[in-house]
Symmetry: C2
Subunit: 123 residues, 2 copies
DNA sequence: AAAAATACGCAAATCATTTGCGAGTACATT
DNA sequence: AATGTACTCGCAAATGATTTGCGTATTTTT
């Protein structure tokens, strides 16, 4: 079924994708409806197979729910997202937990700025 | 004009507000239209007087564009947002800048979990 | 006070995402 | 194979936060 194909697209993508991007990709091979893509994505997120992150542009991005935690550097100029695995947030999370009693289970982090490529072109 | 009243609401709020919350607040005193609130907010954001942050719930939250950097602990149970000023991200940002050349200008960080209050009630 | 610029209300538009419904398909049980 | 039950999908309409066009008021500038 189409769920597998949609999941494959996510699995094979090095970066996170929007529902529309997934839809376009899948549509090249088979017929699907956008709502099917959304339904499937929600399904995969529920099953913890896929992670959904809403960015400042208000669009949801989906990626493989992998163990290794990633964050994005989003260029305000070209709007590309570069991922980084640098994240010392667990330390901060522990500190917050200790000082506030808040039981933190997850976090999202988004950096904004200008990527090296754009920096070159702007100058 | 209404811009001042809207700005006052934001100034006097200890936490970030949605457009609707601001609208409700302002409406208690004067007549305004929701679109006026939105227009004014965009205006204030443009002038760097107000900061807009889109959260995972896809709703934009507005707060005074203040110098002191805050992040939110959002309870997945009661949906309240607790703010914290703990943020060692500048260190991480510098590291990323050095290693990737990405010129980071801002970031958003959102912690999710269960707040102490809800923890008590759930148990 | 007239002209030019803003502010505002109202209704309609937008856009990502969701949902109701009805039809198609798969799988299990007899 | 036949029946039942549960998904899977497509399609069109609905949602909900936010934006926009437009005409009218109100302010600011001259």
């Amino acid at each position: 079924m189409k769920k597998d194909i949609i999941f494959d697209v996510i699995k094979n993508s090095p970066n996170s994708l929007t529902a529309e991007e997934i839809y376009n990709d899948v549509s090249q091979n088979i017929n699907v409806n956008l709502s099917t893509v959304y339904r499937t994505l929600n399904n995969l997120v529920e099953k913890d197979l896929v992670t959904k992150v809403v960015r400042q542009d208000k669009i949801a991005y989906y990626e493989l729910a992998n163990n290794e935690h990633k964050h994005y550097l989003i260029c305000d100029n070209c709007n590309n997202a570069y991922s980084t695995d640098m994240c010392d947030l667990d330390k901060i999370a522990r500190k917050i937990k200790k000082e506030t009693g808040f039981n933190i289970t997850s976090h999202t982090l988004e950096f904004h700025g200008i990527c090296p490529e754009c920096l070159k072109n702007v100058k």
